[in-house]
């Protein structure tokens, strides 16, 4: 397997990690102890039978391994790449106590990539139930729910407001972490299972709520919505982007290939990215690939960064400069950004999340010269449709309130993913969507 060298990969959008060869995969699979009570499975939000698929790989039965995974997860090429395995399956692997855990994520990815290249087999589908389910949003939650519901024999229409399905997998996560042909291939499998995908359809307006509620069940996977801005002076200067906008322009609209593609993105020699999550890392690494000197400003310490360790390391290797314990107070410039004024933060009492609370240090202001400032400080749940559903319970931040199985206050409406939890990970959205899909199935079969 391999990670391409930083100085090579920073010049393109091809995948950073080239994956395992067949020999490497078999050797890695043979390290698995095949525990009687596997704790790795407990760490998997979608409950893949991990020892079983690894055993198939060890025997060289890659197609069989794929079938095992697909019993629980129809999007393995995506999960193998973007799940935080270090805190899930691999974090639980017993081998991790003494040496390194089995690289379960790499193995999942290997199996999925192998199958994609050699020809996919769809999982078996249950007898048609005649029930119709609307799935709103085609990101990780929506795709998972649609796949599960189709497998269970329901007829599924998947609505997407953008021109291409995939949600954050297409517009948010850059191709060097998740190649778009991988996403497209996994979405094609949904089509193969009979799911109808309607792009350019914004539920609530293109599809009126009355029509939505005429389905036998509804799954809301409409994800995170409005990006947060810091609320500091200078935020409306040209050159200030939300991470969502910057990433969408490049990942979905291919602004890196302007003018061949029509969508532009500003040319910036120096970029400041604000934030410390995976989205901030993605934005910084995209900015590097567009040729900018890139500085990431985070208000806490390095050890507090919420991003995945591996992505932080890769950002560092690719030449992103990190400024810790600092926070922007003002964006400088007349019409366009010329700099970001920051102040130092002191780490004080630990807050509820177990992280220190950053407190500004008097008289510590400094300026980072920049032509672009990208704010990657999170986003609120998508408010559009939720506002139109009378009687649906929402939390303080506008998220839809659900029970453990994704049930909302409206009988046949279920929800999972960022719309229910607030911004979280792909795999958590998928886990929630899967539980919701099974609850929808039970409801439809009992009615």
């Amino acid at each position: 397997m391999g990670e391409r060298p930083a100085d090579e990969r920073v010049r393109d959008f091809s995948e950073v990690d080239t994956g395992l060869s067949a020999e490497e995969a078999v050797a890695e699979a043979q390290r698995c102890l095949q525990c009687k009570k596997p704790s790795c499975v407990k760490g998997c939000p979608v409950e893949i039978d991990i020892p079983a698929f690894i055993a198939r790989i060890a025997e060289g039965d890659f197609a069989g391994a794929a079938q095992v995974i697909k019993e629980n997860n129809l999007l393995p090429a995506i999960c193998g790449r973007v799940c935080p395995q270090e805190v899930q399956c691999e974090g639980q692997c017993i081998l991790g106590l003494k040496e390194v855990p089995v690289r379960i994520g790499e193995l999942e990815r290997f199996v999925a990539d192998h199958e994609r290249k050699t020809g996919s087999r769809l999982p078996p589908k249950a007898e048609p139930t005649g029930k119709k389910v609307a799935v709103v949003g085609s990101g990780p939650a929506g795709l998972t729910a649609a796949a599960e519901l189709a497998r269970l024999g329901h007829s599924v229409v998947l609505f997407e407001s953008l021109h291409e399905p995939g949600g954050v997998l297409m517009y948010g996560i850059p191709a060097f972490r998740l190649p778009k042909e991988v996403v497209r291939a996994e979405i094609d499998q949904l089509r193969g299972m009979g799911v109808t995908i309607l792009t350019n359809h914004l539920v609530g307006t293109s599809v009126p709520v009355s029509e939505l509620l005429s389905y036998d069940a509804v799954f809301l996977g409409c994800g995170a919505g409005l990006p947060h801005f810091m609320g500091i002076p200078g935020e409306n200067l040209n050159g200030v982007y939300s991470a969502n906008e910057f990433l969408t322009r490049v990942n979905l609209m291919h602004a890196d290939r302007f003018p061949e593609f029509d969508t532009p993105v500003r040319h910036a020699g120096r970029v400041v990215v604000v934030g410390g999550g995976n989205v901030a890392m993605d934005a910084a690494r995209v900015a590097r690939r567009l040729g900018a000197r890139t500085t990431l400003v985070y208000r806490r310490r390095k050890e507090d960064l919420p991003a995945r360790r591996a992505e932080i390391a890769r950002a560092e290797e690719e030449g992103v400069t990190f400024v810790f314990c600092a926070s922007p107070v003002r964006i400088l410039g007349e019409q366009c950004v010329t700099g970001v004024e920051c102040e130092r933060m002191e780490m004080c009492a630990t807050d509820a999340s177990g992280r220190p609370e950053p407190v500004p240090v008097e008289g510590s202001r400094f300026v980072i010269d920049a032509d672009m400032c990208i704010q990657a400080i999170g986003q609120g749940p998508n408010p559009l449709l939720v506002r139109m559903l009378p009687g649906i319970g929402t939390g303080r931040r506008g998220n839809v309130i659900v029970d453990e199985e994704g049930r909302t206050d409206l009988g046949k409406v279920f929800a999972a993913g960022d719309i229910a939890t607030g911004a979280a990970t792909v795999i958590l959205a998928m886990g929630g969507a899967k539980r919701a899909a099974r609850a929808i199935d039970r409801m439809l079969r009992n009615s």
Partner: protein
């Protein structure tokens, strides 16, 4: 709803057909697109987003009229995408049409409504005028353009409005001067209860000063740069009453007297260089013939 089920199992929609396309005035064009999901659900004041082809950008256009499953947009050719759009003829396809987007105009029984349109901004006036009329209002229309050759929808506005005034900057038709002058006269005669002003940002800024002094509730439809148009990216943020709002989901219509037009205009210039480059590149491939000879 049968629409969606009838597509069950079929492949997703690829392309929306142009049913009719024609020039309306100098560099201003109209196209009627078959887009049932938009046409059937559109209300006055909303917009749609189109992407012409696989390499296209997403641009917002206000919905100008609907007829069955057809939706009309009117645009002025100013950049690469709008020039390319102007080359489309009946039978061509637009890769993506998403909508309706944004909040509809708030229409009530106000009494006397005045709808002021400038340039290509006149495009969305008839649909608002019709809605205001249907709600029992007396409707006055004022449409203005640089010159008679740039004026659109005079007949349609004339049919809908109780009275219609025309203004041209150069005096080639109607009042010689700005729509704002006519608005002043209208206010002097019969004080409006609600005013809409839709046009280029500078025109909206200047014209809404007329109603500010008189304290008349006034709405403007803002046209910042957008990407997704559904509240995801934040590109279209505008400052209204000192707060950041997103035109795509909080608008496009806002209280004219609270809008920071200078920020809007500055942000509209974000990609001037890129827009110039894209247009030059497009023109060099299309030799100024409108592209039709080389098209498809």
């Amino acid at each position: 709803m049968t629409l969606h089920f009838s597509r069950q199992g079929e492949d997703e929609i690829v392309g929306y057909r142009v049913k009719e396309a024609s020039p309306m005035a100098e560099r201003i064009y109209q196209i009627w697109i078959e887009a049932p999901h938009v046409a059937r659900n559109a209300r006055a004041g909303q917009f749609l987003v189109i992407r012409i082809d696989e390499k296209g950008e997403r641009i917002p256009l206000t919905i100008s009229a609907v007829k069955g499953d057809l939706v009309r947009v009117i645009f002025m050719a100013v950049g690469k995408t709008t020039y390319q759009l102007a080359t489309l003829v009946a039978g061509d396809e637009i890769r993506d049409v998403a909508g309706p987007l944004g909040k509809p105009s708030e229409i009530g029984h106000f009494g006397h409504c005045v709808i002021v349109g400038g340039g290509a901004g006149i495009a969305c006036c008839p649909i608002i005028a019709r809605a205001a009329k249907a709600a029992g209002n007396r409707v006055t229309g004022i449409i203005g353009a640089r010159s008679a050759g740039f004026l659109i929808l005079e007949e349609e506005m004339g049919e809908t409005c109780d009275e219609l005034f025309v203004a041209t900057d150069d005096g080639t038709k109607g009042h010689h001067g700005f729509a704002a002058d006519v608005l002043k006269q209208v206010i002097g005669k019969e004080r409006p209860d609600r005013v809409w002003i839709i046009g280029p940002a500078i025109m909206m800024k200047v014209t809404s000063e007329v109603t500010r002094a008189a304290g008349i509730p006034t709405l403007v439809s803002l046209n910042p740069i957008m990407v997704d148009g559904t509240g995801m990216c934040g590109s279209c943020r505008v400052v209204v009453g000192g707060e950041t709002r997103f035109a795509c989901v909080d608008g496009p219509e806002f209280d004219a007297h609270k809008v920071d037009f200078d920020t809007l205009m500055a942000r509209q210039k974000t990609y001037l260089e890129e827009e110039k480059l894209a247009l030059e590149r497009f023109s060099s491939h299309h030799c100024g013939c409108g592209g039709r000879d080389h098209h498809g």
